[in-house]
Symmetry: C2
Subunit: 633 residues, 2 copies
């Protein structure tokens, strides 16, 4: 083929060494945020100092801390503590563990997060979904009503596993795993879990004595119907009043965001009012169920309680890994979204390490799984927290509560806790988002509903796994069926666009222009070969006799990488087209692709003169040689 | 932003309906080859006729069949039959089933393939890898030495499962599953299997009486060392002679391709010579082990032997599914590669249905798994076969053998079979290809070696699963870490290329040009956000104070699709950049992407004037408004 004059040089430099490529790949995969960019060009002592500040953020923010900031953090800390007490007790009940563990869990973990955490707004606490999931997984092995001691040991062990998993993921910089829990999955999972948890509260709200160990919708409804004779009006009325009050305060907050504190302290109000009421009616015949004994004193050590007997450890491992991932997704997503509001950055991998330490130490000190729950973090943010100090303040409040006030909460009615949980859960079902998914992306909607229905009707882990599986199938389908488009020239321009999108685009005589997208490799190599064959067939069928197709011009700018099977496919395409008198022209292969094409000698087989930098140049060269050929004939 | 004069209209047409998109997606996913394109615009009777011809190829080729073609098919059929007899007996021994089953399996399945198969060159027969795999899986449940009858029933059931799986995959047009067995995996798997099978033959070659049930390298070597006292020189010498002869004929074939028949009939020669020798030395003290009784008569019915008791069916199901996939990959790949030599097309999904029928009917008539083995197909092709008739001829030869000659083969020495198998297997270890992988793609090499080592040292299914798993991880990594490149303008041109690849590219003042590749969605959304943030950070750091970055121009031509999480990520990027005074400009979004951006109102938020068809236009418009702003200041 003759060279056209204006042609630009294609870079045929020999491929980089394997080491260079591997290093750059690893860097992109594990360090996409380039966390060490700040350390470049610094002396060793400064590097060490910077390293400390980087890995242990308290060294970074504490030296700059001032009294004026503390005012804000004090207020925020007290506010979230008032939320932590009722939530801690409620969620502990959800996990079928003693209420006091919920209070313990708001004391030690926030202190650890204060040291290692990098988000200024995150408030540490227990979360409903993980509490229920732990109960669901561990109850299969041990019934807490029969052997509470063993069950507790398994809960601590699961927390330990979560902590180890989280910090390992952080150290290995495998934040990438969290990326595979898509937004749609999380919306569906949260919605399904909220539904489950609301239904669980029917026991408390209706004052039932017997219920079911299962958590899925069908079993719970059956249990309610079966035990409907145990229903009592007193807790039902009280529950409805509390729930209405809580929902009302939320409504107030939504209308006047400045009154966020009304909603923040309302659970505490419910607990106090309910407790006082329960105290004064304790000798009455219409007794309402209360939390029961809460001992004074701080967290006992529990490191000796961890259990590694395979008979029980297996369930702890499963529960630990699943809850670790869910807690990470919730905590990191929330930290990130609040940081964004202040235009700050959060390093996901660092957060993972902080969460991991928090849960490892927590499991040693009678705490169960904690993360950064949405509600608490939002309150913390709105209360004006400035640094991680608000978590420390909350921890001190919890310390005082544990030392002096704990017994007071033993009169908290169960129905008050049910109302608090229900109110929190009703806010987690994101109808608008689900509708938005339905309107904009049906496949995302399916992924979301798979999680929702799976969680509600099968089990939480199965719902999650099915939904993630479906999302992965989609990811693989994208890979297996990359869209290939035919390009046409827009009138009066040198632009070549998809003829389906821009029907005014006209094809160039004697040539077929295709744009490939996404990597070419084993999973889609067959598809690409067949798709190209079909394009050629259609093109030949549509053209009149005289025209024919002489050049197949492949625009490779969108092809990010190619593997051996991919290269072989291109060779096959070439072999198939040769007898038809069609030559292949490549346009703008990227660096990775070009290296592979050079290594496999594909470029040599095709000829370097068949590779161009732009479609325009390729077409001109082809036209030129077509004209020459005609003259020759 | 002011509009530049030469600007081309971007297509903002409202998104297509969900039904339209779903239909086109399904078509691309399941019917990439557009098999019904021939049927368009035809009358109903012709469509029915065409349909028959399409689905049952014999209706297509038999009416055009002529005597002159039959001459070739007769010769080819006899040649492959002479190969089928020794191979059938050998591979049946590998599967630990009676030798006669191997002969049965070359009688019925070729007839079925003759009717339904679409490849003209494929020769049907049993294959070594699947034979060993069946033995490996089923021996875990039943020992054939103890209960051969039950073991046989399981073999037939596994074959039935394979047939059902294959035809289902074909009907559901799930050929896509086969795509996920990459070339590298297959090379490694074949190499590992060949190694295993060669080692297995040590028993026959050394005349050992005791051996191991295990197939992995370590167990086999241990067994040989342990039983080394049983070794006898007679079979060893005989085996070496046979093996050298077989390898010599292969060498001859490689040197003079016309003499392919020498290599094709050599196994038959070995069997006959060995049989005659064994017959005459049968009363000698140095007896060599022979195949043993082979009854006359055609395939007995075995449909009543299929076993669906869950205790045994489970293993059959696993063995059936794995062998179904491997057999499909081998059969389709081979059919395809020979069709390509004649510039013909093979429809993978149709082939699957043919293989499926072949194995279902086979399992009813005492056959075990068959497919299109490479060696036999190559012989068939070289012998000049013209149509599927050669398979029918082979079946008739087998019929005659079963009716009259079978007892003669009972004197076949086991060592002759071992030599035949070893010779076939030595050709399957593709050293050159493995070295080629090592040179060109280290990751593909790892995938290949995982299969090789996994098969050789763990088990065949684990090796395969590990290798496919690794390949999938790579597929997902491609998706999770798509390469994003910075574009620069090539000197004296309007071309914008990767600055890493073309270091002469210069950036445009006040703008940052990035080209994204591959879909943007949940698995890579976080990565893309961080990567863009890093590009912006680096760009701001490198530019001098006055310059700054005012526009982030994203070239989206390579982005094949986007999901909700992806759109939210772009919104986040926009929110992050806004405070820095950087505007986002989109260039050339594809149809799918544009539709999603319109549906989610992203385009409205960004403004339609921020979407361009080419980088050049985008840059000019940005320059224009930058100049205006300066004037305003």
């Amino acid at each position: 083929m003759a060279k056209s004059e204006q042609r630009h040089e294609v870079n045929f430099a020999p491929p980089r060494s394997f080491g260079t490529i591997l290093k750059s790949r690893l860097k992109e995969t594990l360090f996409p945020d380039d966390p060490f960019s700040e350390f470049k060009d610094e002396t060793l002592p400064r590097r060490i100092k910077h390293g400390f500040q980087y890995f242990i953020p308290i060294f970074d923010w504490l030296p700059k801390y001032s009294l004026s900031m503390f005012k804000y953090d004090l207020l925020a800390g007290i506010t979230i503590a008032s939320l932590a007490i009722p939530q801690g007790i409620s969620y502990a009940k959800l996990a079928n563990i003693p209420a006091i563990i919920g209070l313990y869990s708001s004391f030690v973990p926030p202190l650890i997060y204060g040291v290692f955490g990098s988000s200024k707004h995150l408030a540490v606490g227990t979360v409903a979904a993980c509490s229920l999931l732990i109960a669901q997984e561990l109850q299969r092995v041990v019934n807490p009503a029969v052997d509470l001691q063993l069950y507790m040991r398994m809960v601590f062990t699961a927390t330990f596993v979560s902590g180890v998993v989280q910090s390992l993921l952080g150290f290995l910089r495998l934040g990438i795993l969290v990326d595979f829990l898509s937004h749609s999955t999380i919306v569906g999972f949260m919605g399904g879990t909220a539904t489950l948890i609301c239904l669980q509260q029917l026991k408390g709200m209706l004052g039932l004595q017997h219920f079911t160990q299962h958590t899925d919708v069908i079993h719970v409804i059956k249990a309610v119907v079966k035990n409907h004779k145990e229903m009592r009006w007193e807790p039902a009325v009280m529950g409805c009043i509390f729930l209405s009050f809580l929902q009302l305060t939320k409504f107030v907050k939504d209308k006047k965001p400045k009154l966020f504190w009304v909603s923040a302290i309302s659970p505490m109000v419910v607990v106090v009012v309910g407790g006082v009421f329960a105290y004064f009616t304790r000798h009455n015949s219409h007794t309402i169920q209360v939390v029961g004994e809460l001992k004074r004193g701080i967290n006992p050590v529990s490191i000796n309680l961890l259990i590694f007997d395979m008979k029980y450890f297996h369930a702890c491992l499963k529960a630990g890994i699943i809850t670790a991932l869910i807690a990470l997704v919730e905590g990191i997503a929330i930290g990130r979204s609040f940081a964004m509001k202040k235009n700050e950055q959060i390093d996901g991998n660092k957060e993972m390490i902080a969460f991991g330490f928090m849960n490892i130490v927590g499991s040693f000190t009678s705490c169960y799984l904690t993360t950064g729950p949405f509600s608490k973090t939002a309150v913390n943010f709105n209360a004006g927290c400035k640094t991680q100090m608000s978590n420390v303040v909350m921890a001190i409040c919890m310390l005082l509560t544990l030392l002096f006030l704990a017994p007071l909460f033993s009169y908290t009615p169960l129905v008050a806790l049910s109302a608090i949980i229900m109110s929190a859960m009703l806010g987690l079902i994101d109808y608008e988002k689900i509708y938005h998914l339905f309107k904009t992306d049906k496949f995302d909607f399916c992924i979301c509903m798979t999680a929702f229905i799976g969680v509600a009707f099968i089990s939480m882990d199965m719902g999650l796994i099915l939904s993630v599986g479906l999302a992965l199938v989609r990811a693989l389908l994208y890979v297996a069926r990359p869209s290939t488009i035919k390009l046409g020239r827009l009138p009066d321009s040198a632009l070549y666009c998809d003829v389906e999108q821009y029907p005014s685009g006209t094809s160039v005589k004697g040539m077929l222009l295709l744009q490939l997208g996404s990597p070419i490799y084993f999973a889609n190599a067959n598809y690409i070969r067949e798709r190209i064959a079909r394009f050629v067939r259609d093109e030949l069928a549509s053209k009149s006799e005289g025209d024919g197709v002489h050049y197949l011009i492949l625009e490779l700018g969108g092809v990010t990488t190619i593997d051996i099977t991919g290269v072989e496919t291109l060779l096959e395409v070439r072999r198939n087209l040769e007898p038809k008198g069609i030559k292949i022209i490549l346009v703008n292969p990227r660096l990775d692709v070009m290296e592979k094409l050079l290594l496999t000698n594909f470029v040599d087989k095709l000829g370097k003169e068949s590779v161009f930098l732009s479609i325009q140049e390729a077409i001109e060269a082809c036209k030129f040689s077509l004209k020459n050929e005609k003259i020759m004939v």
